[in-house]
């Protein structure tokens, strides 16, 4: 059976949204190949209704591997478990998320099972005639799109950029099978020990999976002015991003940095205020759906990639925009 698999991700027993994005990708491929779609959950304490949700959103089968020792992502253990499942069931395609854990786990698995792996794909399709998976991904800072296939090895594996697809709606009538896979001691690698998490930056937020990002650059002039972006992000249910210049000046912490040496993001809306649009910054926003730029310089590179650009002073434009957002929020209350 030439299964398509997706790797679901969990944190503290809750499935992460990207697990459902992968299912919509996987469903399309499985339908085209006329095969089944399975989702693999490795973790601890993921409740039954969450496993059911994987089925309601596209999976035919769910492999559930749960154990307290798997609560936190540890590459070695996860890799042993997934490699073992692959040897047993021999799926033909595996999609994982291009997240910190997906991008760590899958290269290890690729070595263990001698499979090809394509990183950070934004498009997936099936090649006519051969049935091979065609994997398209941005490279060289998003300046080229490369299409890659793995003709002679199985499974064909890819990590998929978060937010590059939408989950399927929940269908309560879908049914499927949940298969609990027992955990053997020798699957657990005890060398790496997770001590905990630190989030002392009260503003810590994961910009890679945000729908809306309000980002500022050197044009923001001072760190305090980022409060303006924070307010706007809150109104839009989004997060704050920044250029490297703003981060290096200490105006905001590194986890907010967008670009080549920061994060690659794919929000539905990216607002760039006081950012010039250097090639390194643009590398991080090539797959943003809509870009809005606010910059005093009519020739700024950011305006060229924007869907809507305002040549103007951000200290006048942003407060005006905030006023409208506030008015709109009142309207709907």
């Amino acid at each position: 059976m030439s299964f398509v698999w997706t790797i679901a991700e969990q944190y503290e027993g809750r499935l992460r949204g990207v697990s459902f994005e992968l299912l919509s990708r996987g469903r399309a491929l499985a339908d085209e190949l006329g095969t089944k779609l399975a989702s693999v959950v490795i973790g601890d304490g993921v409740p039954d209704d969450a496993l059911q949700e994987l089925i309601q959103r596209g999976a035919d089968e769910v492999y559930s591997i749960q154990d307290p020792r798997l609560a936190d992502f540890v590459s070695e253990s996860y890799s042993r478990i997934l490699s073992g499942l692959i040897r047993t069931y021999q799926p033909s395609i595996i999609l994982a998320a291009a997240t910190s854990s997906g991008r760590t786990l899958m290269p290890s698995v690729a070595i263990a099972v001698h499979a090809g792996l394509t990183a950070d794909c934004t498009e997936l399709s099936i090649e006519e005639g051969t049935g091979n998976l065609l994997q398209t991904r941005p490279a060289i800072g998003g300046n080229i799109m490369a299409t890659i296939k793995t003709p002679d090895h199985r499974p064909q594996m890819a990590t998929v950029r978060p937010k590059s697809s939408r989950p399927l709606p929940r269908d309560d009538h879908r049914t499927g099978r949940i298969i609990a896979v027992p955990v053997e001691d020798d699957m657990i690698d005890t060398r790496v020990v997770v001590r905990g998490y630190r989030r002392d930056d009260a503003e810590f937020e994961n910009i890679e999976e945000a729908d809306v990002i309000v980002a500022g650059g050197k044009g923001m002039k001072r760190g305090e002015n980022f409060a303006m972006l924070r307010t706007m992000a809150d109104s839009l249910d989004g997060v704050v991003g920044a250029s490297r210049d703003a981060v290096d000046r200490g105006w905001i912490a590194y986890p907010h940095q967008v670009g080549l040496s920061g994060k690659t993001v794919s929000p539905r809306l990216y607002i760039a205020a006081g950012i010039s649009g250097s090639i390194q910054h643009l590398a991080g926003i090539k797959t943003a759906e809509t870009i809005v730029s606010v910059n005093t310089d009519p020739d700024a590179a950011i305006h060229k990639v924007a869907d809507f650009g305002i040549v103007g002073d951000l200290f006048e434009v942003l407060p005006e925009l905030q006023k409208r957002l506030d008015a709109k929020a009142k309207e709907t209350h």
Partner: protein, 273 residues
Amino acid sequence: MNIVVPIKQVPETSNVKMDPEKGTMIRAGVESVINPLDLYAIESALRLREEHGGVVTAITMGPPPAATALRQAIAMGCDEGILVSDRKFGGADTWATSYTLAEAIRKLGAETGSERGAVDLVIAGERATDGDTAQVGPGIAAWLDLPLATYVAHITDVADGTMTVERLVEEGYQILSIPFPALITVVKESAAPRLPTLSGKKRSISQEIPVFSTENMDLDAASLGLKGSPTKVVKIATPKVTRGGELVTAGTEDEVVSAVDRLMAFLEEKDLV
């Protein structure tokens, strides 16, 4: 501590300009540099050596000119450079690259009569700015069966054969204890790279760079280069960079108001507000 830093030579991107008409990169006169994200790995290694002693070896797989990257690493303070180079390595994907580099690191660690001894730590960059895969570091760890920590932002403690690191992940910083020998990949936050020194530059010119090839390595021929790579590139396309969006000027107060009016209408139409 015996530390190996795999570095990659890549085209310099900070001066790259895009051709706005064709949407392609203007590559003429583009220099090669050490992958900028590998500089953080080099810096992290040098700091560990300063604190705990040992040897830092930079290693790169690439054509002979990649030796320049090793000399730059030596100029920054690395003790040695190893060039992994052979025509048979050409066209390797991340699977074949990580296999070849892992074997080179194995060979380094097994060399007797050198002061290096076994490898304690491999520090790779987060990803290379050209291929952009972030797969080679974890791949090397898999081949060598080394415990792995990716996206390391801070090395907070090194004691008793174990290091404590903080990985930058979606939920914050994940704190890990990881025993030596190990492989980590680091992000920009880990360390601000130093500049090459004059004495380092001098040393780098005269330093001998050993070459590892199929001649002096024990390799599985079927796992090398293009032939040994499971993935094949089918097609390269250049997306258009210019989105050709609307550009409005907001110089005067009135213009600001009307520009924001239009922006709101635009966002509403796209169902973004």
